[in-house]
């Protein structure tokens, strides 16, 4: 009896923290894949046309900034809520 009773008691009274960490982990899946796709396509483009490498690189940084913003909003939201 005691184990079940104590486990039930613990469940009733837990105050869980750390949801922010779980939230950030989930939020980082999408931008992780996204940044990988952006950089991969940029590399492909730079290899196909080396003379356009500078412009492709600039656009790559732009794309990285946009997708990474979402991951960072996930990080900050974990701290706020």
């Amino acid at each position: 009896m005691s184990l079940a009773y104590l486990a039930q008691e613990a469940v009733q009274e837990t105050n869980s923290t750390g949801f922010g960490a779980i939230g950030y982990g989930l939020a980082a899946i999408g931008p992780g894949i996204g940044v990988g796709i952006v950089v991969g396509k940029a590399i492909e483009g730079m290899v196909r046309q080396p003379e356009m490498a500078g412009q492709v690189r600039t656009t790559m940084f732009l794309g990285i900034a946009f997708t990474e913003a979402l991951a960072l909003i996930g990080l900050v939201a974990g701290f706020i809520f």
Binding site: M1, S2, E9, A69, V76
Partner: protein
């Protein structure tokens, strides 16, 4: 068996419940005694608190420092309180300065001083520090302003873009300077001002060129789309252009600097804890956390530079989009 299961013990059980359990349960006396013993082990330093929050906090801290129950010292990970230090000057007035604000003033002042010294009596063939000043300014002019905006519009907006770039760069550098250790951009105030500056500039440019209604209409309405889709697209475009742009500019900078600061402080305080506060074999972990701290300092240097570049780049992209609002 004890230290790994904090929730198993009736640590948060108050007096009445414990008594009730001993009275009406059919558990053997032995188990009750063990329970009392185990609770006493956790209560070694302080009595049972009826308030659940203090007890829960202490329990959580003990869980974190589980292997240091014997050592008695606890590790305090960095928290958000790092970003709100106590006031240093002018306390109580609206001009109250705390450590972060002083760092803002210091770093902006240093950057201005650098450019004053570098560009004092400029010569056609640069000598000395003027070289570095010219390299920095040319980087912004060629790679950011003129690449996106073209020669003449780039020249027109160069002051704004250069100010934003160097202000963000100088403030971010505080994150890796040893006794400053924090970037003033980690609190929302300064990124807010910079994003507001970028927002005002790109909207002003668009409104001046096209007039208010034509500018808003051509920013929001996507041409060549059947009418029913407009009901979906217009709100999305409005939010994306006029709400999300400054918001993401601001949050991107702040979140990068906040995350960088917490990471670096965590690694270096963990190193200090492993080497000096806790004893014995845990110094091995200290080596690992020191190596990670050094690696992340280099990574933070890259992030600092990248965030300054991205902020200035995005500002010039938004200005360019506002200048060419009618040709999407």
């Amino acid at each position: 068996m004890l230290v790994g299961s904090p929730h198993f013990q009736g640590r948060r059980v108050d007096e009445s419940r414990r008594h009730r359990q001993t009275l009406d349960s059919n558990s053997p006396q032995q188990l009750t005694n063990t329970r009392v013993e185990l609770v006493d082990l956790f209560d070694r330093q302080c009595p049972i608190e009826p308030q659940s929050t203090k007890a829960a906090d202490r329990l959580r801290e003990r869980t974190l420092s589980v292997i240091n129950v014997a050592a008695g010292e606890e590790f305090h990970a960095p928290s958000l309180n790092d970003f709100f230090p106590p006031a240093v000057l002018f306390e109580g007035t609206p001009f109250e300065l705390d450590r972060l604000m002083l760092v803002r003033i210091l770093l902006s002042g240093l950057m201005m001083l650098f450019f004053v010294i570098a560009m004092r009596s400029p010569k056609i063939i640069p000598r000395g520090v003027q070289n570095i000043g010219e390299i920095a300014l040319d980087f912004v002019r060629i790679n950011i302003a003129e690449e996106i905006l073209g020669k003449e519009q780039g020249k027109r907006f160069l002051p704004v873009i250069t100010t934003i770039f160097f202000l963000v760069l100088a403030s971010n550098l505080g994150s890796i300077i040893p006794f400053i250790n924090i970037s003033p951009n980690a609190r929302i105030g300064m990124p807010l001002v910079l994003a507001a500056l970028a927002y005002i500039v790109f909207n002003y440019v668009g409104i001046k060129k096209y007039g208010f209604f034509k500018y808003v209409k051509s920013s929001i309405v996507v041409p060549g789309v059947p009418l029913p889709l407009h009901f979906l697209l217009v709100p999305i475009e409005f939010i994306s252009t006029f709400v999300l742009r400054p918001f993401t500019l601001m949050v991107r900078l702040m979140a990068n600097m906040l995350a960088g600061h917490i990471l670096l402080v965590l690694f270096f305080s963990a190193t200090q804890y492993f080497f000096f506060v806790s004893g014995g074999f845990q110094a091995v972990f200290g080596v690992a956390s020191l190596a990670a701290g050094i690696a992340f300092t280099f990574f933070e240097l890259l992030v600092i530079f990248l965030q300054a570049y991205v902020f200035a780049l995005l500002t010039s992209v938004y200005i360019d989009l506002a200048l060419h609002a009618d040709s999407h």
